[in-house]
Amino acid sequence: MLRLRRHEFADDALLIMAIVNRTPDSFYDRGATFAFAEALDRVEEVVAAGAEIVDIGGVKAAPGDEVDVDEEIRRTVDFVAAVRDKHPNLVISVDTWRHEVGRAVCQAGADVLNDAWGGPDPELAEVAAEFGAGLVCTHAGGVPPRTRPHRISYDDVLADVLRRTVGLAERAAALGVPAEGILIDPGHDFGKNTWHSLEVTRRLAEMTAAGWPVLVSLSNKDFVGEALDLPVDQRLIGTLATTAVCAWLGAVVFRAHNVSETRQVLDMVAAIRGSEPPRRAVRGLA
């Protein structure tokens, strides 16, 4: 069972973590939801489309204008409070590596801290423990936040992924983060070239076998673009194919921009797997 603060999910649930950027410059939406009102509208939209979790981010992943702690807090904390107020049953995650931000958003009602840069700030897990919040333990290959992979190489990329993510998860549990709220994320494209991201996808079953629920963040990323040689606005189909493969291999949470499409893919995988019945099976049975 997955429990993210007071929210519980069945073992076979496939969950969508919808991306809500409070940034002027993120790669896919390019600032579409930077403004408070637009971001709130986006939350309404993704909830209606079937997302169980929103992941609120105040700093774009790629290098760019510096966003300090104060500015990140300005972008996220009041917004988390507003979402908490309007959507009591929605799981709120905040994408941050900084413990100061983590503490402020947990006070405002966040349920999960998405440590997408692989734990550069060791105090973040302590904040998650303090608030009983969930924690995403990601592989980023040890690179500093907001850097691009440059000539990075691994003897065995999945072994490194497992060593680092499971290590972070075990450390978090030892610090008192509730074990049923800890997820591991292979961190597609973070500290990885396209070959690495494809390999961790292909071998994801080794990760889901590690015993921690697996989150994947695939949406419109460069490894999809490079696999298909397509620009960022044409990666939806590739993203959905990757989503289906990861769901089949046991991933549980899917961080996504395109929620209704992702929901349909996950519902289809659940029907194939047999964990959800078909909505309407009448052919050949009349």
Binding site: P277, R280, V282, G284, A286
Partner: protein
């Protein structure tokens, strides 16, 4: 001291004609499908009306298809007609555990299988034998699993056949009027061409009902609960109760 109910001595309490699509087996549609649930409710209402006097025996008349291009079935698996009949009886609270012999022992349904290649006279003979097996005090519920043509529309399982509608209309009229000679006179060759899985069970049922009503009170107050073909197959649901 037990006082027998006023109708304790009757051989037959009531009867129903129910359709037999696999759709009615619980869970087989995946999530509930509105058209199927409406049909199910009609079937349950028919059973509840016909079985209101607590039957001691239930006789299920059900077709068994001859081997055809229907995939591989385990030889011991009951035909859909029996699976659907049992499912509906369970859901109506008439499962075997509720049936008791006069001595109080539990008993199962009496399942009478009618093979898909049975000739019409053999069907009628079987029906008469069922009737003669019901004694005073049997308080039986007779259940026939049967549906009409599966060729009512272009999207029907057997595609459109223009003869389907008049065939189904004549069946429905016979059931509505408790007209046993008409129901027993269905043309089996036409029924087979129209993929009606009900004709032989209906012939058997009609013969049984004709025999019973010839030797006892003839009134059996028919009621129509449903008659429609939402998937291109005709599903009549009727109940009969001793007035």
């Amino acid at each position: 001291v037990t006082h027998p109910a006023p109708d304790a001595g009757v051989p037959l309490l009531g009867a129903v004609s129910l359709p037999q699509p696999p759709l009615l087996v619980p869970g087989l549609t995946g999530r509930p499908v509105a058209e199927v649930e409406e049909l199910r409710q009609a079937c349950l209402a028919a059973l509840q009306r016909a079985a209101a006097g607590r039957p001691r025996r239930i006789v299920l008349i059900a077709g068994r298809p001859v081997d055809g291009p229907s995939g591989s079935r385990r030889p011991d698996e009951p035909p859909w007609s029996v699976q659907v009949g049992r499912a509906l009886l369970d859901q109506a609270g008439l499962s075997q555990a509720r049936l008791t012999t006069p001595s109080g022992a539990e008993r199962d349904l009496d399942v009478v299988l009618v093979d898909g290649d049975t000739a019409s006279e053999a069907c009628r003979k079987l029906g008469r034998r069922i009737a003669l097996g019901l004694k005073a005090g049997s308080r039986a519920l007779l259940v026939v699993m049967a549906d009409g043509s599966a060729r009512r529309t272009l999207k029907a399982p057997g595609y459109l056949d223009e003869r389907a509608e008049p065939f189904d209309a004549s069946v429905t009229q016979a059931l509505a009027a408790a007209d046993w000679p008409a129901l027993g006179g269905l043309d089996l060759a036409l029924a087979d061409e129209l993929l009606s899985a009900g004709a032989r069970p209906w012939l058997t049922f009609a013969a049984a009902m004709a025999t019973i009503t010839a030797t006892g009170p003839a009134d059996c107050s028919p009621r129509r609960h449903y008659a429609d073909g939402p998937f291109g197959v005709w599903y009549p649901v009727f109940s009969y109760r001793r007035a």
